[in-house]
């Protein structure tokens, strides 16, 4: 399944829905959405990842890029990860940059 990234900004939160395989070829599209979210100066990023099937090293780097681009004060939430993607992120140590959530939690993400 080809990679797809859909961005919407609601209540100061950038919601990015990812699907398919996030690899080196796909990473620029994701990074472009991250840049847009950064320009909008959101307070949190919520990555809806339940349809993301695979993440390669370039995809992992895109997460770090997101964190660096947003600044440490902007929380990045990863929601509904498939087990294999979650494992990849954990084994390579990238879980330190993000917070895993099973489902979208407005009270945590939007602070409401």
């Amino acid at each position: 399944m080809p990679f797809k990234s859909v961005l919407e900004i609601v209540n100061n939160v950038a919601k990015i829905t990812l699907s398919g395989e996030l690899d080196a070829a796909a990473a620029p599209a994701f990074r472009a959405d991250v840049e847009k979210a950064a320009e909008a100066k959101v307070k949190a990023v919520a990555l809806q990842m339940s349809s993301l099937e695979y993440m390669a090293s370039a995809g992992l780097r895109a997460l770090v890029f997101a964190k660096q681009k947003m600044g440490t004060q902007v929380e990045i939430y990863m929601i509904g990860l498939q087990e294999s993607v979650r494992e990849t992120i954990t084994m390579t140590g990238f879980q330190n940059s993000v917070t895993f959530l099973d489902e979208y939690d407005a009270s945590k993400i939007e602070g409401v």
Binding site: A56, S57, A58, L60, T88, M91, T92, G93
Partner: protein, 724 residues
């Protein structure tokens, strides 16, 4: 500002290129492309071969010299991407995650057939692994049987080296404060009893960091983690039909690549991900105060002799990379078929580049060099007085704070313990320490004087280098475990399928009264006591102690002293032993903590047997059954010593005084204790002759002795006292 060298100048078929940069060697991501650079002195033909990951046939072959066109034109012109003896070019628009690469090399010499001697072994039909490949595919999941018909089994992959280290850097723990834990990455957690999510991997080791922290070690030494082929020499045991592997991995395929099969992420076939996993492990170990040392094998490669496979070096420049006889046979100082030509300036450069890479990119804290005596041989194999490789490593700016440790012997008979060319930097695995301590523990006579030297950091061997030149160990991966050392007189290597002919015969071990497993309670008790005796003496010796993974819980290999080929429950650490032998773990843990707490064990320079601090006691004093009267005779099986706290760290530190008494007689003895200054009393930290609940105390909770003048030291026991 954009760089102006990121645009193609040459076109070959559909590929855009430009001349590359010779440095760094290997495949390096650059803006828009990948810079490929490879050395060969004798090849006059070099082709870059590109594969889609895992595919048998290449999708492109691009020559480093030949006819190209200019971008946007069809006009052909001659191009040569070579400077000196280095072929280098940038190829644009490659997806670094999806490709694997290699080289074909050729020269005008006739092809040398396999099995025949030859100086040059060029063969353009072979695709060759880049000696500088930062990741290598082909053995991505440990033990997964390869497709033997697949051409080019070990493939170069690209690593995107932008790991986020945050503020991590090598720890630079003073050498005298190290407690080293030698371990096998896979064996440490592969056993089902490890109870972790990713057994046998870097990620699995990371899950066990809390255990290492609890044990108290502050350095782990990893047996080889450079890419190797576990199927090299793999065979089936003639009787059991069990598959035997190259489990230890002392046979390098690539010096710059971590073993993919040790990564839980290896199955993703993504070199960068494997690197990330290992870097994350190093980062987390550092966060927990634990250094990482690598056991590195630069004495030979996985290509064997003239009958071995052509993987990389021999097809790229055989005569440069290997020590050869004048008629083209391989010298075999390693005992494995070939010998890397380490003092050839180019190979020397590669060794240096590799170590710098691991130190800079992986934040590795130190290196232990397998069969390091070979690194001091010249290109004809003769030992040198002033080996340039050892000197350059000792003085290298990037490696300046790395620990450098030599296994100071080789398989060609060169034994340099105490005489390894150290250049003020190198430490050694002290084989004489191991042998003396083992013989002492089993109760041999005539050793008391030598024991005294070993306990002091071997000043006879390292007079000008200090005790930190001495890596003290009693067991290591080579040989018996500590529990087997007290359970077997002889090796039992039948499971290796070599008729018990492999492995060392001089084990200096004693089975405590019965060969192998027994339910005899007396023998079992004695064995546990002997294990504790050994470890207690290791922990109170000057120098750097190293213990073998699993000794702290009584790991056994059932008398096998050469586990190089076993990937099974004999070699994997059995974590059930922690529950079975909690007293042993408690003893080890407290002894490590005791050593770390007391600076009298952390001397950078040798002791003098003199009182230069005016404390009334020499820095070290020797004792026997009567205090101040050691028995140095041939028959003596007892020795006591006192380390004076005022002389800790050469008088720069302040510590308690420590008294140690070791008795290897089969009977106990009353021992007179040295009198302490007014106001101080002897407290017992450890007494291996006491019942298990009282044989060791948590540092700081040691009870005072009721009798401050005399102490009964049991048969085959060690007592450690602390003055407070």
């Amino acid at each position: 500002m954009d760089r102006i060298d990121t645009y193609p100048t040459h076109v070959y078929n559909e590929f855009n290129m430009r001349p590359g940069r010779p440095y760094p060697f290997g495949a390096t991501p650059v803006p828009g492309g990948i810079n490929f650079s490879v050395f060969s002195h004798h090849a006059d033909y070099c082709v870059l071969v590109l594969f889609k990951k895992g595919e048998a046939r290449p999708f492109a072959e691009i020559p480093f010299r030949g006819m190209f066109t200019r971008p946007g034109t069809a006009e052909p012109f001659w191009g040569d991407f070579r400077i000196g003896n280095v072929f280098s070019m940038v190829v644009f628009d490659l997806n670094y995650e999806e490709i694997e690469y290699g080289f074909r090399m050729g020269a005008s010499q006739p092809k040398v057939e396999r099995g025949k001697p030859g100086l040059h072994r060029f063969d353009t039909s072979q695709v060759l692994l880049d000696p500088y490949a930062r990741a290598i595919g082909g053995r991505d999941v440990w033990g997964q049987t390869p497709d033997w018909d697949k051409p080019y089994p070990h493939r170069g992959r690209i690593v995107y080296d932008d790991f986020d280290w945050e503020s991590d850097r090598p720890l630079e723990i003073p050498t005298e404060e190290l407690v080293v834990y030698e371990m096998h990455v896979r064996g440490f957690t592969r056993h089902p009893s490890s109870g972790i999510k990713h057994p046998g991997t870097f990620a699995g080791l990371r899950e066990k960091i809390p255990y290492l922290k609890e044990l108290g070690v502050n350095c782990i030494e990893l047996m080889p983690i450079y890419e190797f082929d576990e199927f090299e020499g793999s065979r089936t045991h003639p009787e059991t039909s069990e598959r035997l592997f190259n489990y230890w991995g002392y046979s390098t395929v690539g010096f710059f690549a971590p073993k993919a099969g040790y990564a839980a992420t290896g199955s993703a076939q993504d070199g960068t991900m494997v690197a990330d996993e290992l870097m994350t492990l190093v980062k987390d170990l550092h966060k927990n105060g634990i250094e990482v040392m690598l056991d590195v094998v630069f004495n030979h490669t996985a290509e064997g002799n003239e009958f071995g496979p052509t993987i990389s070096f021999r097809g790229i420049d055989n005569v440069t990379y290997y020590m050869l006889t004048s008629d083209g046979y391989y010298f075999n100082f390693s005992g494995t078929g070939n010998t890397l030509n380490c003092n050839n300036p180019v190979v020397r450069g590669m060794v240096l580049d590799a170590l710098r890479y691991w130190a800079a990119e992986y934040h590795i804290d130190g290196f232990r060099f397998d069969l390091a005596a070979i690194l001091g041989r010249d290109q004809n194999g003769a030992p040198m007085l002033n080996p340039p490789l050892l000197e350059v490593l000792a003085h290298d700016p990037v490696l300046a704070k790395c620990k450098l440790i030599a296994e100071a012997w080789d398989a060609g008979g060169l034994y340099q313990v105490g005489s390894f060319p150290a250049f003020g930097r190198w430490a050694e695995w002290n084989g004489k320490y191991r042998d003396t301590l083992r013989r002492w523990i089993k109760g041999e006579g005539g050793l008391v004087s030598e024991l005294a030297l070993r306990l002091q950091g071997s000043p006879d061997l390292y007079a000008s280098r200090g005790p930190t030149a001495s890596i003290n160990f009693i067991t290591c991966h080579d040989g018996f475990t500590l529990m087997d050392m007290v359970s077997y007189n002889d090796k039992h290597n039948e499971a290796n399928g070599e008729n018990n002919n492999d492995g060392a015969n001089d084990n200096n071990s004693w089975n405590s009264g019965w060969e192998g497993e027994t339910e005899d309670p007396e023998i079992k008790t004695l064995r546990f006591r002997q294990v504790k005796n050994a470890f207690a003496l290791l922990m109170v010796s000057q120098g750097v102690p190293m213990l073998l993974m699993g000794d702290e819980m009584g790991q056994t290999q059932h008398g096998n002293n050469n586990m190089y080929c076993h990937d099974n429950e004999i070699s994997w650490l059995d974590w059930n032993l922690l529950e079975k032998n909690p007293g042993l773990f408690r003893f080890f843990k407290n002894c490590i903590a005791f050593r770390q707490e007391h600076q009298v064990f952390h001397n950078r320079w040798h002791l003098h047997s003199q009182d230069y601090m005016g404390s009334g006691y020499p820095d070290i004093s020797w004792h026997g059954v009567r205090s101040w009267q050691p028995d140095w005779s041939e028959q003596s099986l007892m020795l006591g010593f006192m380390l004076d706290g005022k002389h800790a760290r050469g008088g720069l530190g302040e510590d308690n005084s420590i008294y140690v008494f070791t008795n290897t007689y089969w009977e106990g003895h009353d021992v007179e204790l040295p009198r302490l200054p007014e106001g101080q009393r002897w407290h017992v930290f450890a007494n291996t002759g006491a019942p298990e609940t009282e044989d060791v105390w948590e540092p700081g909770t040691e009870p005072a002795l009721s009798d401050q003048s005399n102490l009964f030291v049991g048969a085959r026991s060690v007592v450690i006292l602390v003055a407070k």
